[in-house]
Subunit: 525 residues, 2 copies
């Protein structure tokens, strides 16, 4: 292409398409803002029954704050009443003598009570501590209105006076968050459903999606605040049932399409600031999802022009996916982080990745046919080979499960993804999912992301009651455990589970957890 330039980032050469960058830029949304006050003063107390062992209880109404005085070592926790994403500002004034030394404050933002209770200095996980939402401020001139330049994702804010001087104290007032989102809530049709639990799960799903919708679909507004393809696919599906910010999906597709590598691979995630950069992380499933997401977008919007323009890159992802097949027609397994699928330490990725490949191949063929491309015929032929290979190599008819990897692992992920891929005939596919529930193999789902695929596979195979039960049990469990927005990680058997080494760093408003609204509305649950 004439309008592309090559850029070297890390070890990967990127072929940048400026026309696509321009299209994405033109679709950049305006952020909607709302100024909201702190709702109340709370105390965070130990409670063995509460999530992480901590519960916030009301200590005083928010109005009491301005009357209170804080000296060195004092702290107060404010509760904003619900999950917020935005920019915080507040007034601070001296009490006593004129302030004869700077004021030193620590601000701690938390989505969950645990972030107010357990010191961030105790964090010892393997991903960066810089995700912990904390600021240390030195204020030279008082009184002052402090406006923090960084965006935070939180419900709770701890204001902590690290030092004043012996001559003065401080008082806080008008603690405000200017929330930001590109999601227009007026576009969402309220769910009319007789089951209040389903209604609440839907409401919190929509709120989760809303808080992740910024100038791109972010995975989580606390962490990583970034556009990941695996999250985008699910956010887009939820969006078509709710906000209908379809241009934001289109923008994100063009952003991914603008920076493939020289092989044509689409990156797993993008950095938007200071300029568009493809991360040097490539995941087998995520690259394929570029095609699946494009398919879903065209289905939902009828935007054939975009489909046509991005089709060559979508087809390329499928070709690259097929290139990974070994001589027997099964994707080559590997020790490294080559596919995501789920956060499970022992999960073998081969069979679920095979499922993602077939799932995507079918959608690619649908696009090729719609566009009248010759490649439809070739892809259809390849599909048949791959499906045959899957049954020959990965289906264990004695076990009645798909197996994965050299150790023939039987996991939930393998069954769910190969059910979604519809390799088996419908009745066998349903039997597979019911067998999965009945036998419940050890290697289970660990994230809402994987639970989503299990529930969707149940719905696809006609196991509606089981799907509803699982949805209510899993996402409803989060609600019972205090979720204002749905969490990145939730293992009912191990509620402090974190793949990062600490629950402090988990994201408690995470895009891939927002899908119940899609499942409920799309499938009419």
């Amino acid at each position: 292409m004439a309008d592309t330039i090559k850029m070297q980032t890390g070890q990967v050469a990127i072929v940048r398409n400026e026309a696509f960058v321009g299209k994405a830029e033109a679709l950049k949304p305006v952020l909607l803002e709302e100024a909201l006050k702190a709702a109340r003063i709370v105390e965070v107390v130990a409670d063995a029954q509460a999530m992480h062992g901590w519960r916030a209880r009301e200590a005083a109404p928010a109005e009491a704050l301005q009357e209170r005085e804080y000296k060195k070592g004092d702290a107060v926790v404010l509760d904003f009443g619900d999950h917020r994403v935005g920019y915080v500002s507040f007034d601070v004034r001296p009490v006593g003598s004129p302030p004869d030394a700077p004021l030193k404050l620590r601000l701690t933002f938390g989505e969950m009570p645990v972030e107010m209770a357990e010191p961030f200095s105790s964090y010892n996980g393997w991903i960066s501590s810089s995700w912990l939402q904390e600021e240390i401020l030195l204020v030279d001139v008082l009184p002052a209105r402090i406006s923090l330049p960084r965006r935070y994702s939180f419900r709770y804010l701890k204001l902590e006076v690290l030092d004043t001087s012996q001559k003065y104290r401080v008082a806080f007032s008008d603690v405000t968050v200017r929330t930001v989102t590109s999601a227009d809530t007026s576009a969402v049709i309220e769910l009319s459903h007789p089951d209040p639990v389903i209604r609440e799960i839907d409401r919190v799903s929509v709120k989760t999606l809303q808080d992740c919708m910024q100038d791109v679909f972010e995975d989580g507004p606390k962490r990583d605040r970034r556009l990941w393809l695996g999250d985008l696919r699910l956010q887009a599906l939820a969006n078509y049932e709710t906000f209908r910010s379809d241009d934001l999906v289109k923008r994100c597709l063009y952003l991914f399409a603008a920076v493939p590598d020289e092989l044509g691979r689409v990156t797993a995630n993008l950095f938007i600031e200071p300029s568009l950069i493809a991360d040097d992380t490539y995941l087998y499933d995520y690259s394929l999802f570029f095609a699946a997401t494009l398919h879903d977008y065209a289905e939902a919007t009828g935007d054939e022009e975009t489909m046509r323009e991005l089709w060559p890159l979508a087809r390329r992802q499928v070709e690259l996916g097929l290139e990974r097949l070994d001589e027997t027609g099964v994707v080559r397994d590997e020790e490294s982080w080559w596919a995501f699928i789920d956060w499970h330490e022992s999960l073998n990725k081969q069979a679920p990745a095979q499922g993602v490949l077939i799932y995507t191949l079918k959608r690619a063929i649908a696009m090729a046919e719609r566009l009248g491309c010759e490649s439809a015929t070739e892809l259809t032929a390849r599909l048949a080979e791959v499906e045959a290979a899957t049954l020959a190599r990965l289906w264990d008819s004695e076990l009645g499960f798909f197996i994965s990897g050299a150790d023939r692992q039987v996991s939930w992920a393998s069954q769910a993804w190969l059910a979604l891929a519809e390799v088996l005939p419908p009745e066998d596919n349903q039997a597979l999912m019911l067998r999965l529930l009945a036998e419940s193999p050890d290697i289970g789902p660990t994230t809402p992301y994987m639970y989503h695929h299990v529930v969707e596979a149940l719905l696809l195979t006609g196991c509606r009651d089981e799907a509803v039960a699982m949805l209510k049990q899993y996402w409803g469990g989060m609600l019972e455990d205090g979720a204002d927005t749905f969490w990145e990680l939730y293992d009912p058997q191990d509620k402090s589970f974190s793949p990062y080494g600490s629950h402090l760093i988990n994201s408690y408003c995470h895009a891939w957890s927002c899908t119940p609204t899609y499942l409920i509305r799309k499938f009419g649950l």
Copy 2:
């Protein structure tokens, strides 16, 4: 006065003179700026012979910085080659993969190597830790140019990477300080003197004054960054011999004059931002210095108009000073912090305060006579009474020293101030100062502020050689110990002395230490 309003700050009612505020505002100087780069990379190493036990030695030229990469836990110390006051900015760029987590940095600014070597978390003094110059920054978008909004006073800057992520490191470049001062160095005549030590003491005095000259005369650009009357008086004297920013002295006089309390007392110090506020600290000697500083200003500038306008308030300070005399004509002593004089825990303030009163009274009389005021006669009569009372009550002819307080303390401060007050005949005054040097009573000077008054008393009494020797020994000692600017505190016998509980919090560029240039130039040393 019609143009005054009363304000209540703390327990003190302030009578605000808006006309004076306006005059001071009109004299606000423009700050001169200069962009300066870091000079080199240094290591701070333990050295028992060095000040505080730490010495900075060159590790690499400054240009090497941009080639170096820093990961979590790494740090680098930059040396700006001399003392700087201003605003710091630098470039930071990621190295490796795109930065997938915020960058967390700690910046530590130090006037002395010890501030780079001893962690601020070890500080346990009684004044606020918020004076320690440290910032913790979280940077969301890289590369970035970081421009810190606060002003720092430093020679050394430690850049410390608290966290990045496992995927990237950072590199720093173009670390720059935009220095600020209202002092115009081109106005200073270079000292021509055969003694290189005297030349160097003069140069560093001028640099110290320069760095303290901002939109007011600050006591220290690190701490307290505030306009104190005791410092102003000495800065003004040094200024008349060097920068001749006489309007800045005038501005400061009007600022003090704008906010006396309802008794007419002038505060010991002022806050300028966010608006002019009189601190609720009142010190006997500092209030009197309003009159002395006005006298010196008028002497240096011939500005009789200002003298005339501020004279009523100057006279009022003398009246208030006289009101503190007991029935025998000696200032009433007290346990509390009623006069400053010097940072010496055991120093009794009575006799030195008596000296300050007489010293000021004589200058007030000179002003009254110049202005043709009737009060000259009355003040002259009071002076005779006070001098007689001083000799009767405070002079111990057996000891040959002035004594102070109920315990008849013999201190350097008492002798120096009563010598400066010229209570004794000239030959006795000289004998007093020589006796002071010979017998060296235990309660000695602890600050350059007090040393200044001892040296000036020696010069006044004709002990020129002794004055030069002390000046070279004391300020020259600071130079030998590594001073770039003269320090707030320096006790050659206890080099870690701090009245605040830690040498980390001392100010190492302090206005009251800048007087050698005045002593050298005014007295033609």
